[in-house]
Symmetry: C2
Subunit: 504 residues, 2 copies
């Protein structure tokens, strides 16, 4: 008996931890299992149910919303994807929609509306009650990616002269509609925002104290036009739970809560990574993107880079006409390595810059300081890598990993070193080791110069972009690659002409 009980408990526990699948939901809908759905909504996070429900037939999803009370489904609706939401808005009756929409928070509804076709958006607006409709219309007016567009208008604001006791009463009355009750926002007689009170301070305060006595005055705020990237920076830097958004008169018009800030930070990081990989970033999640849309976000940069690559083609083409390849074909073999290495070195620097700028660890004002730092670091990196390359390339040539393809005439005799490897026995003539070592020296000196140039340009491009208020992630990597490809080739052949004057 006790054993059986334990078994049942174990099964229940397992059920709790397993995420429901679309098939599970379909089965429950077939069985018209309303109680099962109530249980599910109580025991499972909404997002886990929503992910399975996104793939349901529209009529099945509508059944769920009709059969289960709205206190269970309100949060669940918010987690559905745009398509499922639109299907519901289309199918529900006006009355059902009024109930559903008014149970949502203003900022979530605004987000959904802004991506809906006009006829559905107006259905939702009609369903919203008067206050909510006014707030939605206000929020829709703020530009994308600003604090105004991500804030919500559902917050608790108090006069600084309010007593703790009155504030607690008011929270009990109005708090259910607010996005957060953990931070209260305080205004003075002129209706200007002057500080915040944390709920825990309210709990510990004496009932007769005024809010002005317990409020935090060291608070940060932003304006409606603040960029959302900066909003993320403020949350990170000041460990905020909620941020006040002010209008030009320093009056509170909205707040941003930490969960929305986390979404913004994630979105900004994803955008930076997408831009660094040369993808035109889309807001659609990867799994919901069609192959066409995916291709569309990839093509622009590839084509732009292809066109920019013309410079490389031109330089290589001009150099060919100087017959240098015909005389020393081995030089061609090192071109990819040289171009890759300089691109990698600059890419590292650019990556560090883009992230530092995004997190506001430094700004374009410190360009001089950072350039000097990167330059010193470039000397070290360039020195170490060049030294290694010298040894490595010499080794490549002596072991025959690369074939010199060289015919040397010494004191009248002709030595053919094509296909020569160290394993054939060491042929120590005047010409061969000299040539091999000159080759290594040429490649490693070029590498040193290219690394220093690449790291310097890799610092200046993002810092410059940031100084003229452009997004540093967007242009830096591709421009760097093109500039460095051309620079490296020119340096390589300039040095080659110095090392092998006969071909100049």
């Amino acid at each position: 008996m006790a054993d059986e009980e334990r078994k049942i408990e174990e099964i229940e526990e397992e059920d709790e931890e397993r995420k429901p699948t679309t098939e599970d939901l379909e089965e429950m809908i077939l069985r018209h299992d309303v109680n099962g759905f109530r249980e599910l909504f109580i025991n499972t996070p909404d997002i886990d149910i929503a992910e399975a429900a996104n793939d349901l037939e529209p009529k099945d999803l509508i059944w769920v919303f009709r059969a289960v009370e709205s206190k269970y489904t309100a949060g669940f609706y918010d987690e559905l994807n745009q398509e499922a939401k639109e299907n519901l808005v289309k199918a529900l009756t006006d009355k059902e929609l009024v109930q559903l929409i008014n149970a949502q928070s203003v900022d979530d509804v605004t987000d959904t509306i802004s991506e809906m076709p006009a006829n559905l958006a107006s259905r939702v607006l009609k369903a919203a009650d008067k206050d909510m409709r006014r707030d939605i219309n206000q929020l829709l007016n703020y530009k994308d990616d600003t604090a105004g567009s991500i804030m919500t208008t559902e917050y608790l604001e108090f006069r600084d002269t309010t007593t703790v006791d009155d504030a607690i009463d008011e929270i009990r009355k109005r708090g259910k509609d607010a996005e957060t009750i953990y931070t209260l926002f305080i205004k003075n007689a002129k209706r200007e925002f002057v500080g915040t009170v944390d709920l825990d301070d309210l709990i510990w305060a004496k009932k007769s104290q005024k809010l002005s006595e317990i409020m935090n005055r060291d608070v940060v705020s932003c304006s409606t036009s603040t960029d959302q990237e900066e909003v993320g920076q403020l949350f990170r830097r000041y460990d905020l739970n909620a941020l006040a958004v002010l209008n030009e008169d320093d009056r509170l018009v909205g707040i941003i809560t930490i969960d929305d800030a986390v979404d913004v930070m994630t979105q900004e990081s994803s955008e930076d990574i997408a831009k660094m990989s040369g993808v035109v970033s889309a807001e659609t999640p990867y799994m919901e993107m069609s192959a066409w849309k995916n291709a569309k976000q990839c093509i622009p940069w590839i084509v732009i880079l292809l066109v920019l690559g013309t410079f490389t083609t031109m330089v290589l083409n001009r150099l060919e006409s100087q017959q240098i390849f015909t005389a020393l074909p081995i030089l061609i073999a090192f071109i990819p390595t040289l171009m890759d290495t300089s691109g990698n070195a600059g890419g590292q620097t650019t990556g560090l810059m883009i992230r530092g700028l995004a997190l506001n660890s430094f700004g374009p004002k410190q360009t001089g300081k950072i350039l000097f730092k990167e330059f010193r670091s470039a000397l070290i990196v360039g020195g170490c890598v060049a030294a290694f390359a010298f040894i490595w390339i010499t080794m490549e040539q002596f072991t025959g990993i690369v074939d010199l393809g060289l015919v040397v005439e010494t004191s009248g005799a002709t030595h053919d070193y094509s296909g020569f490897t160290i394993w054939n026995g060491l042929v120590w003539t005047e010409g061969f080791p000299l040539h091999a070592i000159t080759n290594s020296a040429l490649v490693s000196v070029t590498m040193f110069a290219a690394i220093v140039a690449s790291k310097s340009i890799g610092t200046l491009l993002p810092m410059g972009a940031s100084a003229i208020k452009k997004d540093p992630a967007l242009l830096s990597q591709p421009l760097l690659t093109t500039v460095m490809d051309v620079t490296t080739l020119l340096v390589y052949f300039a040095i080659a002409c110095l090392f092998f004057p006969a071909f100049a």
Copy 2:
């Protein structure tokens, strides 16, 4: 009079918004302006003061901690950098240290200690009171980058049978020591974690209700060994304010709060960007890193890629020996463009994969589905880019942007097209346009094949890494570059031999 008042107010307002500089602090210390410091701590966020204070002389900083009461300086200490913290620990008396350390939270002290030299760490441990010392020692035992290492042991836990009234009393008594009072953690009779109660639900509940009646049962938790990247994913997915960390017996041993989770998410994004740029990621902030340390994190990958680049050198070298370059030197000029394009195409895919895996939008189980999607997208991208490349390269050749360097013999006569451009007049012979168009076809067909191959490999590498539980960001980009460089070259010359059978 009224004017003057307004002016003073304006000045005060400006002062409030300006961040203090190190010089401001030095001046105040010279004046022994204790009141000024109290004002500053009230009106300015700690992090803003700490950033200026990090550059103070140690003796000045110590003066601040001696002169100003610890209720002002406790939060300020936590925001100082490691060096400043260590200087303080060195200089303060035992008694002062006891006061300072016990005002901190356990997880912050643990973080600081783990980076301190042993003698200073043991000073801090001695200063901590008994409970805190036990907790620190426990936290120090968890592996880096696990939930155990970022959690705190200061939380509020209640039995499910506790009444609302009792819980509120208890919060008033013990809440000050907890990291958060907004989430209460609930255990059952077996001391297993069973749910959470939000503080707002507590406020709205009837005083006689039991916590089990109002608690959320749809809560997520993690174990002490959960990777911190997964912790970030949980916070993002479930919009959490605090997360329960359980041991093997399902008992609560710590919690992670949203501010620590935000730090973790930021750190993980930075690491991914660093790895994608081929930088060995360091935890030191950029501005605190020396040029040496900076170089050290850059060198390993450059050298590894340089060694891997040997394959490219070998392939090019072998192809040289087939004399194909001597016969058709123009082929060399397109090598960088081809290699860059295939690298870019694969890099885009890898970037999307790395981010999607990091955010848990998909997992290695969906490899088949995603590979199919990327393959279709690759056909579209490859087709569009190849079509464009065909036109562009033909244009390059006809306008003389690249020089064919071609000598064609037609019906006995020899035509030299070196330096030929369309501006010299169109010489329409059998040989020339045919060659130019064959070149374009060769390059664009190669491009198509390389893009499809690169996007497929760019999908498989990160998914494979993730399937064997390796970090997809670490290996994918560099390996991709090397594999694609070699693949592109081989495809290029295989197709060249098909198009120009004479050289095969």
